[in-house]
Symmetry: C2
Subunit: 339 residues, 2 copies
DNA sequence: GCCGTGCTTCAAATCGTTTTGAAAAGATTT
DNA sequence: AAATCTTTTCAAAACGATTTGAAGCACGGC
């Protein structure tokens, strides 16, 4: 393996000069710089990353912990995220070390990875309100970036969509169409994003002088189905639903069909669409009106932000709150005439 | 971060002594060794892998490249394998670094990871016949262990089930039951395991003086269905099928039902079962006779073998060829009386 | 009292890089 | 031509571990 010393001897230069020449420092003359570059290429020099890391204190590796469901499967989208994240980091000369969260203590896998002390930082996802992992990493002073924002006053690096605006935009659209009885079928409030959606929903409804109806549970089809069915059977049934996901929307669609209601004539539906490939908003009949913010779009920014954090950029400059796009399709229409 | 120097200063010992004490060298007295161990624990010492690697050439980290399908999903079983592998390596003080194969050149991700030269070795899976990755790693002299055997005369470390025996055992069982027309619905021959299954099948059939019928394609339900349908419609329809997987078996079952045939009265089925949780052999009606070899059982041995290879154990001693278990259930029965 | 003999411990070199502080060379001013 | 300033180069320290060769110490034998 060619080393700096080899190149130095070849050219009768010190390793220091060779190092600076290759790293493009201005204090080495252009002529030597070129000569060094050329000989380095000729001799097939590759910097020894290990040595580089030893002296710089950086390892060029970041960690991520996979949360796995009890049946040892994971989210369908996970692989796409993983792929894109790996690619985004790879461009930045950074590798991803994976660990698996086997339940019990959410902090344990982070502790284990830190113990090995070869990691520069972490990428976290799916933060919960008062997430213990975030508290842990901050207390230990370990750099990290979160996909999601655990609290509105977060003082760490994150990438997140504006979940309050997601609800607010949907409410505004529906109110403009004349809807007054609007229900939110939300995710479990344990998740920070769901809490934000609820806040945004309540605020927007209050702004229009309307009474909010909401329920929070897992974002699965059956939840959408049972809750929508129950709400439609109640005294003042909603004329519009805000769905936490397209999966939930599928359940709501099934419930309205069971009740003999038509979309959008009797019931309007707006869903949030994170572009899961499984349940596509455009495949609905009628196609779903959505607030759209593909999860995969987070990968590039997350990599970028983490590198910024590692580079010492202050946290406030490493926060991205993105607006979801409101896409109006066939599942929303004017509110039905009052009965 | 605690270093050897810190411990040395704490105990008024040289770093050399501390290093030897922690690595259990005999030339340091028992008393100091214990004292050092204890203070190291107390101070939370963790060896710096980067520094270790620089001087020893070992980093305690191994790599694995994930092959992802074009739709960016991966095998359902993948997470379980990943979990178990991580755990098995963790016990051996080794970390797993993941990269993702984004198509195009199968060797490229390995090259990238090697360039970073912080890895001690690799775990490969799903080898193909004449796998370029294996050729590459061997040519570069990089240690690796393969889950699967790319060729019968493999001269590298691997863990694999005896795929020729898988077919042979099934054939022997069926022949003992009186079957003469037996078909193999195999995986694509590009995969080394499928080539082995075919060889074993042909050899076993020849041994019994029978003419083999075989087809090779992706191990999915539809392949089992279409091929079985075609074969059952042919001149001398098989009375028994060997299926590459339980998924394929599901297709074959559907095809026999479509033809109005009954299992095992008219058609017997033997499948290979690698214990995917999705399509379970015992959930079939009747439950499937299988050659069983859970994929997950490979994790411990793979970790063990890789560490052996890294420790310099010669390749021939790092090869494991495991027999699959033949489990006879309701899907096999005596051959039907000749028409 | 001198010298070998184990048994422990140590200082120093090593790995390949980055970075600091100083020296050498060249250019400019006095 | 001496003095000063700039530009370029260098030797050495640092990162944190392992490993080599040597030294300190107590011991008993001569």
């Amino acid at each position: 393996m060619t080393t700096l010393k080899d190149i130095g001897e070849e050219l009768s230069l010190s390793v220091a000069t060779v190092s600076r020449a290759l790293n493009g420092f201005p204090e080495v003359s252009l002529r030597t710089r070129q000569k060094v570059r050329e000989t380095a290429d000729r001799m097939g020099y590759r910097p020894n990353r290990v040595a580089q890391r030893l002296v710089t204190g950086r390892s060029g590796m970041v960690g991520m912990v996979l949360k796995i469901k009890p049946d040892m499967t994971a989210d369908e989208m996970f692989f796409e995220i993983l792929t894109r994240l790996t690619a985004a980091l790879s461009v930045r000369e950074t590798d991803l070390v994976l660990a698996v969260d086997q339940g019990t203590d959410p902090v344990a896998p982070y502790e284990r990875m830190i113990e090995r002390n070869i990691l520069d930082g972490f990428i976290l996802n799916a933060p919960q309100t008062n997430d213990p992992r975030i508290a842990f990493l901050r207390q230990r002073g370990i750099p990290f970036v979160v996909h999601g924002r655990a609290a509105p006053d977060a003082d760490y690096a994150f990438y997140e969509i504006d979940n309050q605006a997601v609800s607010a935009d949907a409410v505004d659209l529906l109110v403009a169409l004349g809807h007054k009885s609007i229900a939110l079928i939300n995710g479990t409030l344990r998740h920070a994003y769901a809490a934000d959606r609820l806040t945004g929903f309540k605020t927007a409804m209050a702004r229009h002088g309307l009474r909010p109806q909401a329920t929070s549970e897992a974002v699965i089809e059956s939840h959408g189905y049972t809750k929508a069915l129950a709400m439609l059977a109640a005294g003042t049934p909603p004329t519009a639903f805000l769905c936490a996901s397209t999966q939930v929307a599928a359940g709501v669609v099934r419930a309205t069909a069971d009740r003999g209601l038509r979309i959008p004539r009797d019931v309007s539906i707006v869903a949030h669409d994170d572009a899961h490939s499984q349940v596509r908003a455009v495949d609905f009949d009628p196609p779903l009106t959505v607030t759209r913010a593909p999860l995969r779009d987070a990968c590039e920014p997350l990599a970028e932000l983490l590198l910024d954090v590692l580079g010492g950029k202050p946290a406030p400059e490493c926060q991205r709150l993105i607006k979801a796009e409101l896409i109006v399709r066939g599942s929303t229409g004017p509110a039905p005439k009052e009965a």
